[in-house]
């Protein structure tokens, strides 16, 4: 969570994306100069299959207000099947998110291919708008006794 000088809530969103589809799609959004919300920080991984659900929990624990996970479309995975493993893993994770005190609406799962710069912009903007409406994620800070 961050606050700007005028005190308005500026959400922080961490994005875990695969190197081959979504990272390249985000590159394309850049090359196409598609303007989007500056609230998202990308962490590049080889494949969505590499993304441990604990990464998401860690991001929230550290103060992220939202998380995006995005990779190759089904059947298009650079590593053949990593995205399928990710899909199963995160379907299950979403079920557990509420139990862990994380509103599933704070998490976006998406497929963005290397040619979908526009879709990446939409995923970024939609997530930031949604998280902005939800307000800051404070549950873990309160647990830790931090202000």
């Amino acid at each position: 969570m961050a606050e700007t000088s005028n005190g308005a809530f500026e959400p922080k969103v961490t994005a875990f994306v695969c190197n081959w589809c979504t990272y390249t799609g985000a590159d394309l959004a850049g090359t196409s100069r598609l303007q989007m919300s500056p609230n998202v920080r990308i962490i590049r991984l080889p494949c969505t299959g590499r993304i441990d659900p604990l990464f998401i929990v860690k991001a929230f624990e550290r103060g992220a207000d939202g998380v995006i996970v995005s990779g190759c479309h089904p059947a298009d995975c650079h590593y053949t099947s990593g995205n399928y493993h990710a899909r199963r893993r995160f379907a299950l994770f979403l079920e557990l998110a509420g139990f862990m005190g994380i509103d599933p609406k704070r998490i976006t799962f998406s497929w963005v291919s290397a040619s979908e710069g526009g879709k990446w912009r939409d995923v970024v903007n939609d997530t930031v708008t949604r998280v902005r409406e939800l307000g800051p994620f404070t549950a873990y800070r309160e647990l830790a006794g931090k202000p």
Partner: protein
């Protein structure tokens, strides 16, 4: 304490305009572990790289971060620079503050804040980077070319002339592709067959080429230098070794009314056929859907309904029981040259395309597409080169060409320009004038795009010497009135509506990728765009490579291309393949998984999720040779580095080099504070 150097690039004004690079460098300088932090106008330039190298030397750096463009662009450049100073290249990483920051944000303060956070996150990651050694892998010096149109033929010949074996797979019974269907080619009006067929024969006879026609690539496994390719040889129903191409079978075939694909439905062929007289190889194939014998078999008839071709064959080459077979090949590099198809003017349209109901959905017989016009104008075509109406065989005196049918029309599902249509329509008007001297050709166009050597001159010739009438405007509707076609249009230069009569209308339909191309792309693990064209690795600097190492692109499978472009691309892929094969071993990034055997419990979850079968079983024995436990081990030659094993491992005993948990958590921790 780490000694990390941070190098912030302005990229001219590309980054500097929106990101305050000096502030980024200043803030990073205060981070613990950062020993040096500077900004510079062009970090990738020679002086820029010298700044990095000098700092490594003088400040004794043990890690480097270049905050600049995407790592896909220059990670290799900077890792090379770092390595030249004796620092392990995998201790250098890039922070993307161009594509993911300066280019997509306008607020300078927010963009600078973001750039600082992104850099900080990478700094923390690099603190946990360890030196890695590149992996050396052997290379199978044999190339595969998929598709044998002009691009595939050129690529295969250039590679084969370089002294390397080439396997060429063509899905149709003959090689030659679309170019073999063309009459004459722009801008020289030389006969397409005359320049293509010698190349086809050359390919067929080349000692380094193994040509597999009527076949498709079914499965591809492995990786650069070491692909294993499974090719489905479809059943021709003719023994290619026995057949001598005499043509007696086709003469004997009673079904002579099958629409010919080669003649785009304007001519007919028999059920056992060679697509065209100059086909290579000159071996017929039985179209089982059209053959009476196979249709009889499908109905369950006990007796053979027809066997005329077998009776006619003196070499006993006809084999009705032939089955599809599979050919396995070890391949080092793959060139994709699958070409294009035309936007269909028929009623059936693929998802996302709406078709052109206003032009009669192909129900008006004298409304044809550009390829059909090619066949009419071709000396080898169904009319022997006479331009006549398909409906009544009369010579059209008024012919109308419509450009941009499908192309540049987002409302119809395609926004791109098909590139070749302006030129071939100009060519068509000339071919028409040369054959129908008293005829009048009219062209409806949006713009004339004649960028190419001799192209503009060619179009001017069509207008000034051959009298083609060019009208800038769109046709809103075509309809039949007796024998004539009414063309309802609007002249956007004069602002006048037009209603004119035509005897024949030719639609310059858009170029689209071949059907099934997505499936092939998935088989190859290569990416494609929203239209289905293959994606190149970089639009300017790596135009014939894909992001999947060892897979290259030639011709219209990548975007609409004319013949000179396709041939140039094909030769470029050959240069890439031969360059790759000039080494006996390839270097690969060491992003592979490693197992900590002391932690591994041997549950083998990793083995079940590994897409490559890279996990092996390792027996751990004590000094006396007693088996202590069986643990997982990774074959680094097979592992491709996706990291699915690591995310799956319950004991966290497998780690992906370059993307360890330690590194990722450090990056996450630094991002959100």
């Amino acid at each position: 304490m780490a000694r990390i150097g941070v190098f912030v690039c302005h990229c001219g004004e590309n980054i500097g305009r929106t990101v305050d690079c000096a502030r980024v460098a200043n803030e990073l300088r205060d981070l613990p572990g950062v020993a040096h932090s500077v900004d510079y106008k062009y970090m990738c330039s020679d002086p820029g790289q010298s700044i990095v190298k000098q700092a490594i030397r003088e400040k004794n750096l043990d890690g480097v971060i270049v905050a600049a463009c995407s790592p896909h662009m220059h990670e290799k450049t900077f890792r090379r620079a770092v390595a030249s100073e004796g620092l392990n290249p995998f201790l250098a990483e890039m922070a993307n503050i161009r594509e993911h920051c300066s280019w997509i944000h306008e607020d300078r303060e927010k963009a600078t804040d973001k750039a600082i956070e992104v850099c900080r996150s990478i700094v923390e990651k690099v603190k946990h980077n360890v030196p890695l050694e590149t992996i050396r892998i052997p290379v199978t010096k044999r190339a595969l070319v998929i598709g044998a149109g002009i691009a595939g033929i050129q690529a295969a010949l250039d590679i084969a002339d370089g002294g390397v074996e080439v396997v060429v797979v063509e899905k149709d019974p003959s090689i030659g592709g679309h170019m073999s269907q063309l009459s004459e080619t722009f801008p020289t009006l030389d006969c397409s067959q005359c320049i293509l067929t010698p190349r086809m024969v050359e390919l067929y006879q080349h000692p380094n080429v193994k040509l597999i026609t009527y076949a498709e690539v079914e499965e591809v496994s492995g990786y650069i230098g070491n692909f294993k390719v499974k090719i489905r040889q479809k059943a021709r129903s003719v023994d290619a070794d026995k057949c001598n191409g005499c043509g007696a079978c086709a003469k004997a075939c009673p079904n002579k009314k099958v629409p010919s694909e080669f003649d785009t439905g304007l001519g007919t062929r028999t059920a056992i056929y060679v697509p065209f007289p100059q086909a290579v190889p000159n071996i017929p194939v039985i179209d089982r859907a059209a053959c009476a014998l196979f249709r009889g078999r499908a109905k369950g008839l006990k007796k053979e309904a027809c066997a005329k071709c077998r009776e006619a064959c003196s070499r006993e080459a006809i084999d009705y029981d032939q089955q599809d077979t599979f050919i396995m090949q070890d391949i080092g590099a793959i060139v994709v040259a699958t070409g294009y198809q035309l936007y269909s003017i028929g009623k059936d349209q693929p998802a996302g395309l709406t078709g052109y109901g206003e032009y009669g959905y192909g129900t008006i017989p004298d409304v044809i597409d550009g390829m059909q016009f090619e066949r009419l104008a071709s000396a080898s075509g169904p009319t022997g080169g006479r331009i006549v109406r398909p409906s009544d065989g009369k010579e059209p005196k008024r012919i109308v060409f419509l450009q941009c049918i499908g192309s540049r029309d987002p409302a119809k599902g395609i926004e791109y320009c098909s590139k070749i249509c302006c030129m071939y329509v100009a060519k068509h008007t000339m071919l028409y004038k040369h054959k129908v001297h008293d005829g009048q050709a009219t062209v409806f166009y949006m713009d004339i795009r004649a960028a190419g050597k001799g192209y503009e001159e060619f179009t001017r010739r069509a207008i000034e010497e051959d009298g083609a009438r060019y009208i800038r405007g769109r046709v809103s509707r075509l309809y039949r009135d007796g024998e004539v076609i009414k063309v309802q249009a609007f002249d956007t230069l004069s602002g006048e509506p037009i209603l004119m009569d035509a005897d024949m209308v030719v639609l310059a339909t858009a170029m689209r990728p071949q059907p099934g191309i997505q499936l092939l792309a998935q088989t190859l693990s290569a990416s494609y765009d929203q239209h289905g064209f293959f994606n190149e690795a970089h639009p300017k600097l790596r135009p014939v490579e894909t992001n999947t190492a060892g897979i290259f692109l030639a011709g219209a499978c990548q975007s609409p291309r004319d013949i000179p472009d396709s041939v140039a691309m094909a030769s470029a892929t050959a240069a890439k393949v031969l360059g790759m094969f000039s080494k006996d071993q390839l270097e690969r990034e060491p992003t592979v998984a490693r197992v900590d055997v002391s932690l591994c419990a041997g549950c083998f979850h990793c083995e079940r999720v590994c897409p490559y079968g890279a996990i092996t079983h390792l027996e751990i024995r004590d000094r006396k040779g007693n088996l202590v436990k069986v643990v997982a081990d990774v074959n680094p030659g097979v592992c491709q580095g996706c990291g699915t094993c690591q995310a799956t491992c319950p004991s966290k005993s497998v780690e992906l080099s370059g993307f360890t948990d330690e590194q990722i958590y450090a990056a996450i921790n630094a991002l959100v504070l």
